[in-house]
Symmetry: C2
Subunit: 239 residues, 2 copies
């Protein structure tokens, strides 16, 4: 697949300074049709050329006096209304030909939102959530498909799953919810008893004295994440 570029574009591009933009891959969990918790991500429809009408990652240009992380958080809020509880820099994509109209360097970001935030999103014809394995993702603008692939790789290769999982679940969660997240990320089933034992061995999960009532069966205890370590690349989103 190659995009035709006119001679004028190439000549023009040679003298233009690179445009700096950010794009963010936001992951959240949501139950699929079969009730299994799966990874989802929101996309926005492009309204301008190039790739007008195609789905793309939320993002936009970096402001002249704005830090890169701030640009990621801002464009995310502007396009989707989401304020993620986790944001980190992913990778910078700068191939000379990744945009047909200009030299475009995009700093990719990686964000996590809770299940609650996923449910509260207002979707319309220009903003929607897609499952991570939705075939629609094959037709994205620019190289956004590759950005998502890399974000998935990063997510699955994180050293500390506990931290990631708790960002997707929010403040309090049951061990079954946590296990479902791990299973979605790892792509395999885990033994509930052994899973519990391993989490108890670490100090990063703490039992609260609350229980999740209202379920069909025995109410599970709620837990809290108490880990302190964090990636040095995490962006502070508390501002």
């Amino acid at each position: 697949m190659s995009i035709p570029t006119g001679a004028a574009n190439v000549a023009e591009r040679r003298n233009m300074p690179p445009t700096l933009a950010v794009s963010t891959v936001i992951f959240g969990i949501r139950a699929d049709k079969k009730g299994r918790t799966q990874l989802w991500l929101p996309l926005v429809r492009r309204i301008r050329q190039p790739y007008a009408g195609r789905w793309a990652l939320p993002g936009g240009p970096v402001g002249a006096r704005e830090s890169l992380g701030a640009a990621g958080a801002r464009t995310l809020a502007e396009t989707t209304g989401l304020r993620p509880c986790y944001l980190e820099q992913l990778y910078t994509f700068g191939d000379p030909d990744r945009s047909p109209t200009q030299r475009l360097v995009t700093i990719g970001y990686f964000a996590l939102v809770t299940e609650e935030q996923v449910g509260a999103t207002v979707e319309d014809e220009n903003v929607a959530w897609f499952a991570a394995d939705d075939p629609e993702l094959e037709n994205l603008a620019f190289d956004h498909r590759q950005i998502i692939d890399y974000a998935l790789w990063r997510l699955r290769n994180k050293a500390e799953y506990g931290q990631i999982a708790h960002r997707l679940l929010g403040e309090r969660f049951t061990l079954a919810q946590l296990r479902a997240v791990y299973e979605a990320l790892l792509g395999k089933e885990l033994d509930p008893a052994n899973f519990r034992r391993q989490l108890n061995a670490t100090r990063s999960i703490e039992a609260t004295d609350e229980y999740l009532a209202g379920g069909q069966h025995r109410p599970p205890r709620l837990y809290r994440y108490t880990g302190t370590s964090h990636d040095p690349l995490e962006v502070d989103t508390t501002l």
Copy 2:
């Protein structure tokens, strides 16, 4: 520590497009005074303002029609003469105030060279190798100290140490050399017997039928790295 910025600079910066540059942290191993293998990295002396005369990471501006990885490899060769056997993107530093004279966005790269390449470097008053814990590293230009810190963090948190270690050692190596690299990276001593057993358990290291002669003692067998997996962010430097 804050660098004074004149009002003219600030005003000017507001209307100037961001400058795109690359900087590379290159790691190699070399024996320190006590004969222990340690991590070293090369720095170059800045000849222009800002920070003229200070040590800095090798790098330079990204060409108009050049990919980011190519810019990393090129500036590295131009400033130090090194052609690394491993190169990957590290992080993009883009704080609005990281350069006192302009909006400067720098894509940091991370490279590894073999012990042999370290020894073959020509050092002069403007290019020199420094141990990773050299106090001189506290006085670098820009935020280059932080870039190095992040590169060290990344190095130590790599999923596959075997791959990293073999890039630092070259094609063939003894288990003692490999263990010395692991010990330098992990910062602790490893039991030679257990180290051997764990490597044999993986398929990524293969014994050759050659031995390293000329040592003081029983000659050790030479091994070869046969692993295939690689990070998706690795830049192809075979061009």
